[in-house]
Symmetry: C2
């Protein structure tokens, strides 16, 4: 039997996740049954939503099981297939183990990658789940109009980058925040954000928003939550739309450690619509989304930064860093060579 | 010059409003200019949103001015008119002073009352601003579907009564809370609510909701805010709609006294849409609303409880009581006799 390295969930964190919640082992791969597909991982996506899957409490994504491999979206090469839709040597994207090799039961949820559209890691970012998240949130909930102000928290992140650039394409003034000066320089100089602040050094978020968004906030793309959300609501204009995408500031907190938002009265005072969504509900839009965004990419209207860490053995540390904002752009682990057989 | 009693805002409260923030005086009525209408008040509406108008901070309704009369929606008799649209002896509804007599400048915002539709106080409740609030919230935001669960906080209040009965008409299971056993008996026995709890004695709101709403919450009509909203969000189903109408539990609190809602992550986890609105944005629907609700009333499909206090001199105490939930049904002050000249 062939073997593979796998990263397991060893125990559930209570509060901040740590290295001791994970383990790596060498495991035998199961023999393929009908319709199964064996895949060698090339790139693996790390995303904040995975933090919720570590908990026992049911999140929207199914929980990871203690003692079983962690799961992530990966781009990989089919090495063996008993599924008529996939052939060895093809490049696919879908949910796989945190592992060098996975067997995708029934070929479920994997799709071929059109490598002509963009570099492979983009299918885990700009043209993948995070990109679709930004695109759906802006299109279905944010509905930005020309001249409005869009605020994007975590502006240089996997989702924020596209959300902000979609705001510029829609004719908005686009403001945001990020956690390092390099990130701020990137989103203003490369992505075209109009004004930004550093949320680690400029901790009076409301004052910062008042300074950089003189016309208030019409569309808020929320990735951070907690005090950042409270400030955006305080600075929101009438009829603002709040795209509730994530709350990374809260994911490692439990119970009373979580931030209490005290100004929800603004929802009725300012007639705010605050709406959450899960990208998987909108998966049927993937092709339409990819065509539009690949077009923008080709036309030079958007850019996208990927932050690659080499080696499956470094994935756990990179994931913990992601939860602390240590990534710069979409976080991807490179597990194996791009060259396909 | 004729004179009138008027209730004034004497000072702005910081925290709970008290009797000493108000004053009563005898004042001269101004002479009528072109298009002005003089009105003798019959009924005056007291509503929670008025608490926001006491503050210096801008609320959605313009602030009351210190030293000037408080303003409220009233039903009254036209006593003199220099406005061609109104004649002495007609009954009208609109914004007037907290006073026995008001001069409505330019006749602005007043409308004739069709007294055949319902008793006069209903035009301040079921067929007036609070009724339109319930109707717009349910129709535009809640969009209840047959078989869903609707939860209404402040179920026996001016808005909650109609919201709950609209839920029944839509085929929902309707649950709610109120602050006395008499109110609970009223909404279940008279209005047809399916299950309720007393939020003063049953203070673990989440446990109470779990008990009375075994299928979760699909539509939440929010009048209370704070811990009640947090519990409803915790118990919400996927794709729930939260009608953000008011937050009476928070109106007398300032700064850090306000309740911090810690579980807004459920907005994205559960794909919740939480939307606020102000009824005056929807005023053009008044006639359509009145026709539909008057039809339900005539058909015996809905009931509506009015809580009348006699005498302008008791209005301030009644308003403070309203903020503490001491009213039972829509709060109205009777200022003068119904008999028109």
């Amino acid at each position: 039997m062939p073997t593979t390295r796998q990263v397991l969930l060893k125990s559930r964190p209570h509060g901040p996740a740590g290295l001791d919640n994970f383990d790596m082992r060498e495991a035998e791969l199961p023999a393929l049954a009908d319709d199964d597909v064996a895949v060698r991982a090339i790139y693996m996506s790390l995303d904040p939503y995975m933090r919720g899957r570590l908990d026992a409490e049911k999140s929207y994504a199914a929980n990871f099981e203690v003692g079983a491999p962690m799961i992530a979206r990966c781009v990989g090469e089919v090495t063996e297939s008993l599924n008529p839709k996939f052939q060895a040597g093809e490049v696919v994207v879908g949910m796989m183990d945190w592992a060098d090799h996975s067997v995708v039961a029934g070929g479920k949820g994997i799709a071929k990658v059109d490598a002509d559209l963009a570099p492979l890691p983009y299918f885990l970012g700009l043209l993948g789940m995070p990109g679709l998240t930004a695109w759906v949130g802006m299109r279905e909930i944010g509905q930005p109009k020309e001249g409005e102000t869009l605020f994007v928290s975590a502006a240089s992140g996997a989702v924020g980058q596209l959300a902000g650039q979609m705001g510029k394409i829609a004719g908005c003034k686009v403001m945001g925040c990020a956690g390092t000066d390099a990130k701020l320089a990137y989103v203003t100089e490369e992505l075209g954000f109009d004004a930004v602040f550093n949320h680690r050094t400029d901790t009076d978020y409301l004052a910062a928003m008042q300074r950089i968004c003189p016309d208030g906030i019409d569309v808020n793309f929320e990735n951070v939550g907690g005090a950042m959300l409270e400030a955006a609501l305080e600075h929101a204009n009438n009829y603002a739309r709040f795209i509730q995408c994530g709350a990374i500031s809260q994911y490692n907190l439990v119970g009373d450690q979580r931030y209490g938002v005290k100004n929800l009265e603004h929802l009725h005072r300012k007639r705010v619509r605050m709406q959450g969504f899960i990208v998987t509900d909108h998966w049927h839009l993937m092709r339409e989304f990819q065509v539009e965004v690949a077009g923008w990419l080709k036309a030079g209207q958007i850019k996208y930064k990927i932050d690659i860490t080499e080696g499956l053995e470094n994935a756990t540390q990179a994931f913990l860093g992601l939860l602390e904002g240590e990534n710069f752009g979409k976080k991807v682990i490179k597990i194996g060579p791009e060259t396909v057989s």
